[in-house]
Point group: C2
Chain length 304, copies 2
């Protein structure tokens, strides 16, 4: 059971080495992350993109890339199709965004012929290790699904629980968050939270324990549950998965953690037939490496 | 200009001493906070409530309360009316909740005869000092207004800006937050954010600079603004006021700060004719004391 990114990396070391196909690898930050992932035995990579630019960047960065396979495709959209097809065809295990706009990249992910589309909803999972919390937190959705309805929330939970399972958390505790811990008809997300809890009790959402609505303190702080007298609930400050009511709440909280807490994080897109790494330019180097490690663990679980 | 709670306390020390009227003071946590506020010369207090219970608690806590005026009113609703009337009549400067349910307490705040009602919208302001951020952050609304519409958001900004002014921030920068920093018609809060920015430019919201929509990183982290190329905006990681799209986003972020960041905070209810302190039982002792200090600074500004 991974309780930290160190645990996650130990888990990666036990798996056969995975391969990431990079779409438009002519990006210094992505190249550095992929190189570090290779050096740390987290993952190998196939670099698809403008070979000349890739070699120029490597040369400027004094980076040795001779161990990487490079596929020269100058057009970004074509490069993405080529890279995603490698994953689709099983020649690579996960798919990563390089210097290409998000829309075009996602179009390649969803391509019916060569993409990674499944019948599941696509959602984003961000995994956090936060100082003071003794286990990993799985946040969703903080970046991809704007205003999930009940069905979509159920699907987001399923996607996120799969990622938690891959990380060795056998029965993750899922907290559908709200401002309050009781159902309030004037707050639709609390009604959804109760419905999700019921769906879990009735076996429609499995492999996890859902208990909501919960305020964030009751979800992550055992002392708060004690103070507020909610210690008889299924989640007593020990939630693994934090389900957000919408992308505004999710994204602001995510950035609050990144910019004010002592923490590490990594994130992937899920609901696809292979993990997709969609870090942004503003993500730090370690976030990109952590995301590749997370994707490798998930890819390994998917292959089993 | 207060950049920390230490600055705020220094500001309080310069003001004539203020008096807080406590509704149902028979609460150990509230009594401890009021006692500390008195000892630190932050504020004096009038304790309204069940005198016998107040004295018993003081005796158990070995707390000397002989310097406090006590008004014996056993019935909680009557005690609240008595306490709020003291503020209404100018015999006290701010109003604080003790051992009484929030609904009854708020009813006393809004009482047409003896309460503190104005024509403004009531809103909650939480002031944070966060390690790594060199100025105070004013968050609203994280606890009171569930789903503010555009008008209510404008009113919340006005209320919050008044509090920032009271703390010596002459022209606070206000960031209407969202998941993104550009207007997206599918995300109504980004449309509101742009409208608020416009209302500020056109002089409908004054005494501050409004710039939204902004994601949290661009609002509080100058480096993020640099990385994302938004350094030409009015807010470049230097927001003072964070306006949340709704109570879910606000409350979850607020609790994220409290439970994962190295921070201090205090909060008050505003839009009233005098500051109202509505801390909850789960708030730590220092939060209650900080809230009294904040209320004292605001009361002083209101009296000028």
């Amino acid at each position: 059971m991974s309780k930290s990114f160190e645990d996650l990396l130990a888990k990666v070391a036990e798996c056969p080495i995975k391969k990431v196909a990079v779409a438009c690898a002519q990006d210094d930050a992505v190249l550095e992350a992929v190189k570090a992932a290779k050096e740390r035995n987290i993952a190998d990579a196939i670099l698809v993109g403008d070979e000349e630019k890739i070699r120029t960047i490597a040369s400027v960065l004094k980076m040795d890339i001779k161990d990487f396979e490079i596929i020269d495709v100058k057009d970004p959209v074509e490069a993405a199709r080529t890279a995603v097809k490698l994953v689709h065809d099983g020649k690579a295990d996960m798919y990563m965004k390089g210097l290409i706009d998000t829309k075009s990249f996602l179009r390649s992910v969803l391509d019916k012929e060569v993409g990674l589309r499944t019948d599941k909803t696509l959602s984003h999972v961000c995994v956090f290790e936060v100082k003071g919390i003794d286990h990993l937190l799985f946040l969703s959705d903080v970046a991809f699904v704007p205003y999930p309805d009940l069905d979509t929330k159920a699907q987001i939970i399923k996607n996120t629980v799969e990622i938690a399972h891959a990380c060795g958390i056998e029965c993750p505790k899922v907290a559908p968050l709200a401002a309050v811990e009781v159902v309030n008809p004037k707050m639709p997300c609390t009604v959804d939270a109760e419905a999700l809890t019921k769906m879990n009790e009735e076996g429609q959402i499995t492999g996890c324990i859902v208990d909501g609505p919960l305020s964030l303190d009751l979800a992550i702080e055992p002392q708060a549950a004690f103070h507020k007298g909610t210690t008889d609930r299924k989640i007593v400050g020990d939630a693994d998965v934090l389900l957000f009511p919408d992308i505004q709440a999710g994204n602001i909280t995510y950035k609050c953690l990144v910019h004010t807490a002592d923490c590490k994080n990594g994130n992937i897109l899920t609901g696809t037939s292979a993990p997709v790494i969609l870090t942004s330019r503003s993500d730090e180097f370690e976030v990109k490496v952590n995301s590749i490690a997370l994707a490798a663990v998930v890819a390994d679980a998917m292959n089993k």
